[in-house]
Amino acid sequence: MEPTLASYLALSGILFTIGAVGVIFKRNAIGMFMCIELMLNAVNITFVGFSRFYNDATGQLFVFMVMSVAAAEAAIGLGIIIAFFRNRISVDVDDASILKN
Amino acid sequence: MEEIVKTLFPLIVYFTAIFLAFNGVLIIVAYTVLAERKILGWIQGRIGPNRVGPWGLLQPFADLLKFIFKEDIAPDKSTKFVYFLAPLVALICALMPIVVYPFGPPIKTIDWSFLPYGLGEGIRQLPLVIADFDVALLYVLSVTSVGVYGIALAGWASNSKYSLMGGLRSSAQMISYELAMGASVLGVVMMAGSLSLTKIIEAQTRYPTRWFIIPQFIGFIVFLIAAFAETNRVPFDLPEAETELVAGFHTEYSALKFALFFMAEYVNMFTVSVMCSTLFLGGWYVPGLSRIFEYGSIPYAIVSHIAFLLKIFFFLFLYIWVRGTLPRFRFDQLMSFGWKFLLPVAIGNLVFTTIMVYLGIF
């Protein structure tokens, strides 16, 4: 029994679920950031899987785009986290609610 | 029986190849350590280790025995799991690139028909590389870039301020110099038209000036400097600067765990030497050798392999020579040198190479 397209999609779905649940459960900004990276990666598996099963390079090009977006996100996201830490001495997202009241 | 032999045969071949390559590399690494102590001794007007065996030749084994029998101490408040994981990560990531090194040209003259069950059928050549795959260069770059976790995590897990400083410095330094290293290699990749190390060497056998060091001299210098920084060697050994940070990231490590870090550093030096000689000095290729021996014959392979080793030893000697001569950078100097000098030069070299390749000069 070779792993079929369905098994790769299932792996992707499970990882995406873990990432999505993690974003909600995590309270610190870095944890949420890492969960978002996990979700992006889960999507990449489907792209590479389809690319393999249809033998088309387009899926891998998409992965490339996702990776550059993830790199940009890392630079900006960590910059925001550091700026936030400087002003609040914490990376807890609950502390970022000064506009609430 | 025949079926079992036929399925196991490739596995046995690969395991033998990996075993030979790893042990060869580890022996060279062990004697690099001895050579470093000897050469440093000569540079500084000392004799160097000369007690164990003739001229101190058994010193590496004595060191190893000492490391094994020392007491293994972990700091009380360290994070145990990460503390034990870090040296393993460092050594495994250092050893992994060995599988793609092209140690020599393929041997084509051996007749493989003596193997039982017709296993020798269809084997045309014996490649002197374990895995020749499409993205070997990227593989080496990526695996060595993972090696930084060993250092960063060691610094964090030791729960000591010197170690933490070493880990922080190391991760900042690695990220900065990786860019310059990647950009300097791109010129070679563009001229060879491939990321496979064997194809890069092949391209150099066809190229008019033979070795890429002549058209890519700027790339070579940038690569060498960035590689020195990637391996945390003098003059970029800030993560373990002994005058500032005691011993940096491995302050709290002792016995065999320290030995793993130590070996990882020297295996990384070996990797850099292999990459330098493969990318810029033609790897195993010696110009004009095919006039004396036939390409693909056993003597050709042996002479090429010795030439390859000599090139590697030259770069290893360069490491030691630099260590004996140059002082250490300050951290801000290191950062501004990497970002404001090396990276622009590497990108300039890339643009220059692009124009030259487009015009058909290279």
């Binding site: 079929t4 397209l5 369905a6 098994s7 790769y8 999609l9 299932a10 792996l11 779905g13 499970i14 679920t17 873990i18 999505a20 993690g22 909600i24 995590k26 870095i30 890492m34 990666n41 990449n44 590479v48 690319s51 393999r52 099963f53 249809y54 033998n55 390079a57 387009t58 891998q60 090009l61 992965v63 490339f64 990776m67 977006v69 993830a70 790199a71 940009a72 890392a74 630079a75 960590l78 910059g79 986290i81 550091i82 400087r86 002003n87 001495i89 990376v91 609950d94 | 990460v82 499409d134 990227l138 990526s142 695996v143 870039s145 993972v146 960063a152 964090w156 690695m174 990220i175 990321l195």
Partner: protein, 178 residues
């Protein structure tokens, strides 16, 4: 046979590491687990005959992004996550969302399994040559846009992390020194 074995090995490793990442309260442990996921996924890409993507995955995710994350965690010296206090209903929402997504995954698994798409015999789409050809002919514009995006990210990160005025962290550190 060996492909199946390797697939389940790496898939299991990836899922276990992902679970640990969410479970751990200490951000550094989470980060290490996430690196495990990335490396397992690179191995999965190798199984899918995409060596270039696999190498880039390790180079970009494990070698660059996660080094930055670990650097920030070490620099800020982050402590463990506090348990949820005010937003308790988030647990409920999160669990429901997780169940819905899992159900969806199961549905997709069986839907795709019913119409099996066997792998193409030819597997050369993942070679560097073919990716490069696609990248610089058919998809040239997206690649350039990605380049501009990265440039914007560089400038943005520099602006964000510049120190404009005295922040609360500076004041706290000054008080500590006194």
């Amino acid at each position: 046979m060996i492909t199946t074995l390797l697939f389940f090995l790496f898939a299991g490793f990836a899922i276990a590491c992902a679970g640990l990442m969410v479970y751990h309260k200490n951000p550094l442990y989470s980060a290490i687990s996430l690196i495990g996921v990335f490396i397992a996924l690179a191995c999965i890409y190798m199984l899918l005959a995409a060596p270039f993507i696999a190498a880039v995955q390790v180079l970009v995710y494990a070698g660059a992004i996660m080094v930055l994350v670990i650097f920030v965690i070490m620099l800020l010296n982050l402590e463990e996550d506090k348990p949820l206090t005010r937003l308790r209903h988030l647990y409920l929402i999160g669990s429901i969302l997780g169940l819905v997504l899992l159900a969806q995954t199961l549905f997709i698994f069986y839907a795709v399994k019913k119409s099996p798409q066997s792998a193409q015999e030819q597997a050369d789409a993942g070679l560097t040559l073919n990716i490069g050809r696609a990248m610089f002919t058919e998809y040239l514009l997206p690649v350039e846009i990605a380049g501009v995006l990265l440039l914007m990210a560089i400038v943005g990160a520099m602006v964000l992390s510049r120190r404009l005025k005295e922040t609360r962290l500076d004041i706290a550190q000054k008080e500590k020194r006194r």
